[in-house]
Symmetry: C2
Subunit: 335 residues, 2 copies
DNA sequence: CTCCTTGATGCAAACGATTGCAGCCGATCG
DNA sequence: CGATCGGCTGCAATCGTTTGCATCAAGGAG
């Protein structure tokens, strides 16, 4: 908790001027090597640390990227953040992270606040309304959206066409012809994409697809249990692994054998998916890479270029024990 | 991506001076109401936003709190961050989050970097060595440690004495007299505390306690499976829920009945613990509150006071199906 | 010996905001 | 009617750093 050392303190101690100290510390070639060495030495002894706020202020651009995520506790987002953080730090930027708690209004507030501190914005799985997004894009900083498709912004997303095809191919190979999708949060673009591509692919593969609403957490999956049980589907696809694991849990509690009576598959393959009972069939995606690519798009844009074409990442199926051959007969059972 | 509007632009548009605009916007009582209204109006029309960097620079103190966590993907830390974030934002501060990836050297680098931008530091479950911590505390900003006890800093932690007592009481009531602890990361202070309090309490309760090393993830728990199986303990306590769930998974894969043959209990009660098979007995703690309390200590300190006494939070036992009566005879089984 | 070049250094302006202080103007009082 | 007072407003300094430009000393060339 010592007092802050300023450039002028170093200058005085070194018997020179602030400009010389600044130049010496920043490696200008206008300064004689001996002076550089001396100044560095003195600065080191005094424990001088440049005031980054003053530096950035003088230099103009904020070296900060603002990021919004719907939910910090969801491993999917944590890993996107990991990737983005690593890339941004390597580029000399740091992250200002905001959590919207899955609330579009809160997200809008966040954007509004983050933009005051940031030279760029990354909206991760934005739950913003169309109008809200427009507003965000009108801000005086470049914006990249992860898992949300918009014009005039960088876009990095999972390729849900591939995702849905992989899931349905896997299930049809196991003999399933009737599949139920348990959906995600209403404002989620990626939920919309999952539905759209599932529908389209199901039609092409002659699979009957039903849909019910769900959410993003284990509780949402657990609560969907009765609905799922009463459906005529032999396989269920859930919005994400947390929902899937919650659903598996309900099935277990209610004596429904998975996968003998019902198959369950999901998106994301978060680490815990391998440890559910039974282990959950899911779609592995390179989440950290989503973050890295977002950063790449941003640097290009900050470098003056136009927005590059959207980056689409294809997931990969990880078949585990929660999916198996479709049962032959209609389920006979009450509650 | 419009150009940034500055105070002087507003001043010109409003036909007044920057000082007047500044005062009008900041609600000084030295300005006539009509002018205030007019300036506000013009500023609104122009979409003026104060440059926070310039503002903070002028005002002196950085309104940023730097935070380090070992692992962003661990729900425990996510929720601490949630609590801290909410409290700090309410106090007008924002969070700069750094992830050390469970690496003490990286954490030291992080601290070194964060301190350049922050007016205060929160070290969450710091893995720093003693010397590293000293260094961090020598920085010219106040530091709060969550789940790590140090002098000359704010301290907020889980009360592991209570935690260990609750776990061992629960297990002894179920008839267990021999318990194995599967430990956490070597640099973890809280792992040390868990061990210390478990040992002490076990001695007092006449329980035999064995210990093996583990880690922080599901994989660590899974890998500990064989060791656990070959031990003579009837109950296992794991470092955290992720480890516990990994261990449960190994037991399932290898046909060991839980809790009939082995009881498993753990610390933290992350949301997913309720959905493991069987659901995991764990210790619920108010993680978000850890973050809030850290902020409270910080504000007191920033207000000029000395560090308050450490805040200790008592956890609460959530008994689920992974713990049950101890089996009567020694386990007979190979691998 | 003087002038000019060159390399090293310092002076001072600038970034965008806040704020102490001086100044201005109208009103009030003697 | 002039002095004073008080309420608003603007000028200018300031925060810590960077950087264009002036300056200065030394050395070489004429």
């Amino acid at each position: 908790m010592a007092e802050r050392i300023r450039l002028i303190d170093v200058a005085r101690a070194a018997g020179t001027s602030v400009s010389t100290v600044s130049r010496a510390l920043n490696g200008s070639d206008l300064i004689s090597p001996e002076v550089v060495a001396h100044v560095r030495d003195v600065a080191g002894k005094l424990g001088y640390r440049a005031d980054k706020r003053a530096q950035e202020f003088k230099l103009g651009r904020p070296l900060t990227v603002g990021v919004t995520v719907p939910d910090l506790a969801n491993p999917f987002f944590s890993e996107v953040l990991k990737g983005l953080n690593a890339a941004a730090r390597a580029g000399g930027y740091r992250l200002l992270i905001g959590e919207s708690s899955e609330d579009p209004a809160e997200e809008l507030r966040l954007v509004d606040e983050l933009v005051d501190y940031s030279g760029a914005l990354v909206l991760c799985s934005s739950r913003l309304t169309r109008a809200g997004l427009e507003k965000a894009l009108a801000q005086p900083v470049p914006v990249v959206c992860i898992n949300r498709n918009v014009k005039n912004a960088g876009v990095v997303a999972i390729d849900y066409r591939v995702a849905s095809r992989l899931l349905l191919e896997h299930l049809t190979e196991l003999g399933h012809r009737r599949v139920l999708y348990v959906g995600g949060p209403p404002a989620s673009w990626s939920d919309g994409e999952r539905r759209r591509t599932l529908r389209r692919t199901a039609r092409a593969m002659d699979v009957t697809l039903d849909e019910v609403d769900g959410g993003w957490s284990g509780n949402h999956g657990y609560d969907a249990g009765p609905t799922v049980l009463h459906s005529r589907a032999t396989a269920v696809i859930t919005f994400n692994d947390l929902v899937g694991i919650g659903l598996l849990s309900w099935m277990y509690d209610n004596g429904v054998e998975v996968p003998a009576e019902l198959s369950v598959a999901s998106y994301d393959d978060i680490p815990i998916a391998a440890y559910s009972r039974p282990p959950l069939t899911s779609l592995r995606n390179e989440r950290a890479k989503l973050g890295e690519l977002a950063w790449e798009q941003l640097t290009k844009r900050l470098g003056g270029a136009d927005w590059p074409a959207p980056d689409l990442l294809s997931p990969e199926l990880v078949a585990r024990a929660s999916t198996g051959p479709a049962r032959r007969r209609a389920r006979i059972r009450t509650t």
